[in-house]
């Protein structure tokens, strides 16, 4: 069998696989449809180039297989052809890059009405902090973290008092409201990634990173850590529940604020002192 036939088979097989693949995007549940569109555009242009280049190669292989005395073209250079190919490739590259940069520009500019959610990551788990009534998260530092202050919130910062603390790995979000995820890490790199939302960003100890998205489909989604963080990396899962405004409200009202936590701890301390006194 002529080897060209097998190469042709590989190209046709690749195209067929692409058409009939059962493995494709997990359904999108955020505003980042434009990312999918850019990928599809890249598929069309890139896939087209792949097919053309390979088909031309296969054609040459069939047509110009070795024959004693075959007349071979002698043309070391062809400036015109080289120029055309350079320009065509440049145009193709610009056509791919420009939409990509526009989408990226949206990605790094968070809408003003975005809800802030701070994600705290550590080996190997997640917790969340939301701003309270004032809409501002209190400043925090990992060195301040203790049993009584699980997020390391700066006690002198009045903005931190009403922060809502969620010491659990399930995050609730409401639909159709942009969310700005602020990422903090206690120890190593992590990445808060929900495949259905498309967006992701590393959490880095020492600095705060961010990204945003707008969930637009009610449902439960699995969070995966997408930056290798040690031996428990694969088990570092969490959950996001996207729900209606009403459900979200009732959930958030049940959550504890930082001042609640402090008050509870004071109470416990008093209780302990009382118990000790009673025992005396």
């Amino acid at each position: 069998m002529h080897p060209g036939i097998i190469f042709l088979g590989v190209i046709i097989g690749s195209v067929l696989f692409h058409i009939f693949t059962p493995w494709w995007w997990t359904d999108i549940a955020s505003n980042w449809g434009a990312m999918d569109d850019t990928i599809n555009l890249t598929f069309w242009i890139g896939g087209g180039v792949f097919i053309l280049v390979c088909l031309f190669m296969v054609y040459c292989v069939f047509k110009f297989s070795y024959k004693e005395g075959r007349k071979v073209e002698y043309k070391p250079e062809d400036h015109k052809l080289e120029k055309i190919l350079t320009i065509a490739t440049t145009v193709g590259v610009i056509a791919l890059l420009a939409p990509g940069l526009i989408v990226y520009n949206n990605y790094i500019n968070t809408p003003k009405n975005a809800l802030q959610v701070e994600v705290n990551a550590w080996q190997w788990g997640w917790q969340y902090r939301l701003p309270g009534e004032d809409g501002i998260l209190g400043t925090a530092h990992v060195a301040k973290i203790s049993d009584n202050n699980p997020f390391g919130i700066n006690l002198d910062d009045p903005n931190g008092k009403d922060d809502i603390l969620i010491e659990d790995d399930v995050l609730h979000l409401k639909t159709n409201r942009p969310v700005k995820i602020l990422l903090r890490s206690l120890d190593v790199l992590h990445n808060y990634y929900v495949p259905q939302f498309r967006a992701k960003m590393d959490a880095i100890p020492g600095i705060i990173t961010y990204y945003w998205f707008e969930p637009n489909k009610i449902g439960e989604y699995e969070v995966l850590c997408a930056e290798y963080c040690g031996v428990g990396h694969y088990a570092m899962r969490a959950k996001v529940i996207v729900e209606s405004e009403d459900n979200y409200k009732s959930w958030i009202n049940e959550q504890e604020t930082f001042s609640d936590l402090i008050a509870k701890q004071e109470n416990n301390k008093l209780k302990k002192i009382l118990i000790v006194k009673n025992n005396d």
Partner: protein
């Protein structure tokens, strides 16, 4: 020491040109005139004992083979590690001894071995050492002793690396990128001796490699024979030369990051370590930046991709040209593309870091530079396939590997455009799409070239041909098998399957991929085992292979034109060759044969209508 090259005593004038005698007054009118040598030849050290001839050897050809064999050994280790990983991914319960710790150690060692100790050492140390002096017409590297030390440093680096498998805690499991802080914290397997040995081994590798690299560059710049102008060098040499220049500039970034991380680990400095809370305790670090390491690492790491790719580009150009019996199309553009890609490769590193938390505005810059690099790369691809057009293509094993290279490289190059375009990278980064992309483009594609190159140059190195029949079987198993591993793997990335996951549990969108994972594992096992055909072919051909004779492929380039095959120490016998043309004069109109070697003077092929010399 040497007494073989007596002509060094002959005055320089007398050897200025082979055919010039008698017309010394008007040399420029002689069509065969080649500028005289500027320096007299120097003696080579000739080993006499077994040890100086075969072990602590200063002959670049032997050093090349030593590099090659050592690199192949590490590659086999890397291959076995990949099997273990694939077994875990395809059949999680089949091999009970693979724990998460082991899995991450396999991942790390596989990656580091394949990229640095296998591919880099093989292309530059192996092919570079063997081919550079032969292809530029030198007797040896300019610093043979340093060249020998270079190999032995590499050998020690490999020993240190392999030793880390046997230390308490095992080798590091930090991922081949070794990102701090996790690389040196207890949550990562091998975070004590494992990571230290890795950093030491890499440092040794860089030191050894710098010795070799300086040799390659200086030999190419200073020791070319008469008439071998830069624009007459085979593209193999251009690729190796540019890659070595990149390595000289990129490896120092790796070396400093290794040294800094070693200090962070052993002396608790904080180059890369911010304040960290682990298990409720604040560690003694503070003020460092993990992102700084990533910048340093990828400042090395991206040029590293081209350190592997450029020699492959160069070699495949030569293989295609020889076996298609046609000059490489657009030689000058190919040269400038190699140099241009090399230069640009220093301005694209942060495309590995789009979601790393660096300043998001960098994304615009690095996406733009990354996509610019696609242009010269695409031009190279066009020139390869245009070379095939109206050629006379020998469909032998070498050519099959070249064609396999084109298919896999174009495939992997295009997925690179996905990942280089920042908005597209965001959903795909850290998924299996990335794994599939870089294995296709810098795993399989360069491997195709390496294997093609082995089939091509084996006759030169050993004097015997490899079996074509076994070679073809080897090619189809390797090409079809590897393609069916990595092509479908992209689609796992679309689903969102993250990389470096020991186990997926039952995440709904991942469960659908179980069958595909099993298939990929089986394909990986088959591809791995089919390399036994290759090894058998090499070993058996050493003794029963058809004698190759001189220049069996009818190639033009200098390495085939040595007086002895395989070439002896000193390469050229009495007299250095004199070069009259580029190495791609195949099927020149008017010429009697379908090839004109580089040493053929114009007066011998007076009727050939040569355009480019």
């Amino acid at each position: 020491m040497s007494d073989e090259y007596n002509q060094k005593n002959v005055p320089l004038e007398a050897q200025s040109s082979d055919t010039i005698s008698g017309t010394s007054g008007t040399p420029s009118k002689d069509i065969d005139y080649v500028r005289p040598a500027e320096l007299p030849e120097q003696d080579l050290y000739h080993g006499h004992s077994f040890i100086t001839k075969w072990i602590f050897c200063q002959d670049a050809k032997i050093i090349g083979v030593q590099y090659f064999l050592t690199a192949v050994f590490t590659g086999i280790v890397g291959l076995v590690l990949s099997w273990l990983m694939r077994l875990q991914l395809g059949y999680p319960d089949l091999v009970p001894f693979i724990t998460a710790e082991h899995y991450y150690q396999f991942v790390t060692m596989h990656g580091m071995i394949m990229v640095v100790y296998f591919l880099t050492a093989l292309f530059l140390g192996g092919f570079g050492n063997y081919l550079i002096p032969l292809m530029v017409g030198a007797r040896d590297m300019v610093f043979p002793y340093v060249n020998m030390v270079s190999f032995w440093m590499f050998f020690i680096a490999v020993c240190v690396l392999m030793a880390s498998f046997f230390v308490p805690g095992g080798p590091t499991g930090a991922g081949w990128t070794l990102y701090p802080p996790q690389a040196i914290l207890p949550g990562t397997p091998g975070s004590n001796m494992g990571i230290i040995l890795m950093l030491v081994s890499l440092s040794l590798f860089v030191i050894g490699f710098t010795m070799g690299g300086l040799n390659y560059i200086i030999t190419i710049l200073q020791a070319r024979t008469r008439g071998m102008t830069l624009m007459r060098m085979p593209l193999t040499i251009w690729g190796i030369f540019t890659a070595t220049a990149l390595a000289m500039l990129a490896f120092p970034a790796l070396l400093v990051s290794c040294i800094m991380m070693t200090l962070d680990k052993m002396l608790e400095t904080s180059f890369f370590m911010p304040t960290i809370v682990q298990a409720g305790e604040v560690l003694d670090y503070g003020g460092g930046s993990p992102v700084l390491f990533q910048h340093l690492f990828w400042f090395f790491g991206h040029p590293e991709v081209y350190i592997v790719a450029l020699p492959a580009f160069g070699i495949v150009s030569d293989l295609i040209s020889v076996h298609a019996r046609k000059n490489i199309f657009g030689y000058r553009m190919m040269v400038w593309a190699i140099v241009g890609i090399g230069g640009l490769s220093f301005f694209v590193w942060a495309h590995h870091m789009y979601v790393s938390g660096m300043n998001p505005w960098f994304g615009f810059f690095f996406a733009t530079t990354t996509l610019i690099i696609a242009v010269p790369t695409a031009l190279k691809v066009y020139n390869w396939i245009i070379t095939l057009f109206r050629a006379n293509i020998r469909m032998n094993t070498v050519m099959l590997f070249c064609l396999g290279f084109i298919v896999t490289f174009v495939n992997g190059g295009i997925t690179g455009i996905f990942l280089g375009n920042v908005a597209v990278d965001i959903p795909l980064s850290d998924t299996y799409f990335v794994i599939a992309h870089f294995h296709m483009v810098m795993g399989i594609a360069p491997l195709m070239v390496i294997m093609g190159a082995v089939y091509h140059w084996f006759p030169l190195v050993t004097g015997r041909m490899l079996s074509e029949k076994l070679g073809k079987w080897h090619f189809w198993f390797t090409f079809l098998g590897a393609y069916s591993i990595y092509f479908p793997m992209h689609y796992l990335g679309f689903i969102g399957v993250p990389r470096r996951y020991f186990e997926m549990y039952d995440s709904p969108y991942v469960a659908s991929a179980t069958g595909l994972n099993e298939f990929i594992t089986l394909a990986a096992l088959i591809v791995g085992f089919s390399q036994l055909i290759f090894i058998y072919n090499i070993v058996s051909s050493l003794s029963i292979g058809k004698p190759a004779g001189k220049n069996p492929w009818k190639a033009n380039s200098l390495e085939w034109l040595t007086p002895e095959v395989p070439p002896a120490h000193g390469n050229w016998g009495e007299k250095l060759p004199v070069i009259h043309r580029w190495p791609y004069d195949f099927n020149v109109p008017g010429a009697k044969e379908d090839y004109i070697t580089q040493t053929t003077p114009p007066s011998e092929v007076i009727s050939a209508e040569v355009e480019k010399t």
